[in-house]
């Protein structure tokens, strides 16, 4: 049972302050959705959780099972059981999906994984996500379509078995079939492995397939509203403007 706790998080880039006091707690087994308009700070939060060097934490804490992450390098955070599915996964030329997965798994273990064990895990994950086995011998993200990139992200998630995963706009750029496959993959991993997930999205469509228990709305670097699935339904009906007005009125 893991817990990611974000307390009063302030983050800036070279240009400006983007997050201005975010509080959020995610435990394994919980599905959270983070919604917000463009520029609200969603990707900043995702990247900061994993320790991207381009973002500076000026205030607040990120705790994983009570352990402060701020001083940890990205790979150390990964080894604790955190995972980030990227909005724009980059190509890793010359390295096949399977080889990369093996490297990543071995990076998180003392003993290298046995060939047979790796093979059967990969077999299982490939079935779960409905991808072609030949896919795993292609160079990772190199020449992949948008949908293939996102599937490769979820495939890595399935193989690395994190405790808590952050999915940064995994639904963007996907057609409806790819979206369904990816979303159902996430749901299955949640059911099978009991991971906790923070699903960051601009649209609500992915939430037709993955049902979050907790919904948070991020605006201008702060979480301005929290609720359950009913909040998604409201957003879908009304858009962000009424929420923005309501928040302004209450301020």
């Amino acid at each position: 049972m893991a817990e990611l706790e974000i307390r009063d998080l302030h983050v800036r880039t070279e240009e400006r302050e983007i997050l201005r006091g975010v509080d959020l707690t995610i435990r394994s087994g919980e599905l959270h959705a983070l919604l917000g308009p463009n520029g609200s700070g969603k990707s900043t939060l995702a990247n900061t959780i994993m320790g991207h060097p381009g973002y500076e934490v000026t205030e607040g804490q990120i705790l994983f099972d009570g352990k402060e992450l701020r001083e940890l390098a990205p790979h150390e955070r990964a080894r604790l059981g955190l995972f980030l599915a990227f909005q724009y996964p980059v190509a890793v030329p010359g390295v096949s999906v399977a080889n990369f997965l093996r490297m990543a798994i071995n990076a998180q273990r003392d003993e290298p994984i046995k060939v047979k064990e790796f093979g059967s895990q990969l077999e299982h994950a490939v079935k779960l996500l409905d991808v072609d086995r030949a896919f795993t011998s292609r160079h990772l993200n190199d020449g992949f379509s948008g949908g293939e990139k996102k599937r490769a992200e979820i495939l890595q998630m399935a193989m690395l078995q994190p405790q808590i995963a952050v999915l940064d706009e995994t639904d963007s750029g996907l057609d409806i079939d790819a979206l369904r496959t990816v979303a159902e993959g996430v749901a299955k991993l949640h059911d099978e492995q009991g991971i906790g997930a923070l699903i960051i999205t601009h649209y609500q469509r992915i939430l037709d397939y993955v049902k979050p228990q907790f919904v948070h709305i991020l605006m201008d670097g702060r979480i301005v509203m929290r609720g359950g699935p009913e909040l998604v339904a409201r957003l879908e009906r009304e858009g962000y403007d009424p929420i923005r007005e309501e928040v302004a009125a209450n301020a």
Partner: protein
């Protein structure tokens, strides 16, 4: 005019391998025409070619090269007279690093002496010859005289002349027509210690319709003091022959200067896959030229290099089409770390009348430190009108987004850098189709990366 006629660097230069910034100028264009272009040395007795080369050696000054128009590589500081030509007794076994590998034959030359030769008896029975070039000149004089220096000059610069005049030992391989030999022939030139001059010559012939794998190694351990390896290599692929040729050069940390010329001739319907891997040496100056000399000839010319510390590397790779239809595919990759400087010039030359030649030249580079320099100069000279010849390339640095991506999967920063650089070379390495050699090159690249890890890190953080 020979390359050696390039202007000398300033007299106050103190570095062993000088790299002097220069303005691009008229002299630069001249390098285009330094292709061997099929010009060899007329058939003359060995003693006579040695005598001519010696006269050229005495006439010429130590060379400097101005490859890229931006900087000059010089050997003027090399104390040639101070270097020794060391001889050694024969030994019962081959080089240890080949133990456990299957080989068709092995020849080991240490410094000036061939110390070990072995050839599968069955292949010897079928007419394969593997011996020192000295022995071949005596015992297989007809073959020797037919091919020796057919496509190599002996007097373009002082060190080429020295190699042609003074070579000892050397390697001779002959594979008779029609014979397919799946295991590789391995020719190893080793420099045993600093202060050595090694002059060598490899002559290899793949008879019509034969199928051959040949590996040539230039190796030295880490050493103190300057050394010189001046080599000439010639390979002739007769009609329909197929050859996978790999040359692995790793002179270690120390003062080995390697000035070598390699020539491959591809006759009618023959095919060659040629991969030089230049993995270390104080100064490497290589002229590698492949000539399609018969219709239907085809080749894949791959190459990779990785320079570190204050190494200097200068490669001139030539893809020559003397006739068509012919095919070519030149693909080189180079990385530079430390204060090293590397220069790659690739030339496609399609001669008059070589119609329906199709070739492509690409060069990809990766800089791993702020003080390393890497230049690439592609050139195309076309003398026929029904051909396709083009070139492309990329210049890369370590991609921070890619490093972060891999870190989020649990890889440390040095691991991520290693994956990137290995991935950079991998498209060439996998094509070797030769697992022990692939492993050797991967390991060597890995070791170089480990050695340069701190400096790569500093470079990344400074950006």
């Amino acid at each position: 005019m020979p390359e050696a006629a390039m202007p000398a660097p300033p007299a106050d230069s103190t570095r062993r391998a000088t790299a002097t910034p220069r303005k691009a100028g008229a002299a630069r264009e001249a390098t285009l025409h330094f292709a061997l272009d099929g010009v060899g040395t007329p058939r003359i007795p060995l003693a006579e070619s040695r005598e001519r080369a010696r006269a050229a050696y005495e006439r010429l000054a130590l060379p400097s090269w101005r490859r890229s128009g931006f900087w000059t590589t010089s050997l003027e500081q090399l104390d040639l007279e101070g270097l020794e030509r060391r001889t050694h007794e024969p030994q019962p076994s081959g080089p240890a690093f080949l133990d456990g590998q299957r080989s068709a034959g092995v020849l080991l030359q240490r410094d000036s002496s061939v110390v070990h030769v072995e050839l599968e008896p069955e292949l010897a029975e079928r007419g394969v010859i593997l011996c020192s070039l000295e022995d071949a000149a005596r015992e297989h004089s007809e073959l020797f005289e037919r091919y020796y220096l057919r496509r190599l000059p002996i007097d373009r610069h002082k060190l080429e002349a020295a190699s042609a005049a003074f070579w000892t030992g050397g390697a001779f391989l002959y594979v008779p027509p029609g014979l397919h030999v799946p295991d590789p022939f391995q020719i190893v030139y080793e420099i045993s210690q600093g202060g050595t001059a090694q002059y060598v010559h490899t002559l290899a012939i793949a008879g019509a319709g034969s199928d051959v794998r040949l590996r040539e190694y230039g190796l030295a351990g880490d050493s103190d003091g300057d050394s010189l390896h001046a080599g000439q290599f010639e390979l002739y692929l007769e009609d329909g022959a197929r050859c996978r040729l790999a040359q692995v050069v790793d002179w270690g940390v120390g003062g080995v200067h390697d000035v070598s010329t390699s020539s491959v001739e591809v006759e009618r319907d023959a095919w060659c896959h040629w991969l030089p891997a230049l993995l270390g040496g104080a100064l490497i100056h290589h002229h590698d030229e492949i000539a399609i000399a018969g219709t239907g000839g085809d080749m894949a010319f791959r190459g990779l290099f990785f320079t570190e510390r204050d190494e200097r590397l200068d490669v001139f790779a030539v893809d020559l089409h003397e006739t068509g239809p012919s095919g070519g595919d030149v693909h080189w990759r180079g990385a530079a770390s430390g204060d090293s400087r590397a220069s790659f010039e690739g030339l496609i030359k399609i001669n008059h009348g070589a119609q329906q030649s199709h070739t492509y030249l690409q060069f990809h580079s990766m800089l791993l430190s702020a003080s390393a320099e890497l230049d690439a100069i592609p050139s195309v000279l076309v003398g026929a009108d029904d051909v396709s010849a083009s070139h492309g390339g990329t210049v890369g640095e370590l991609d921070e987004d890619l490093i972060f991506y891999m870190q989020t999967r649990g890889l440390t920063r040095p691991q991520a850098v290693r994956v990137i650089v290995e991935g950079f070379f991998e498209p060439l390495i996998v094509q070797l189709d030769d697992p022990p050699l692939e492993q050797l090159i991967r390991e060597r690249i890995g070791a170089k990366l480990a050695g340069a890890a701190d400096e790569i890190e500093r470079y990344a953080l400074a950006r």
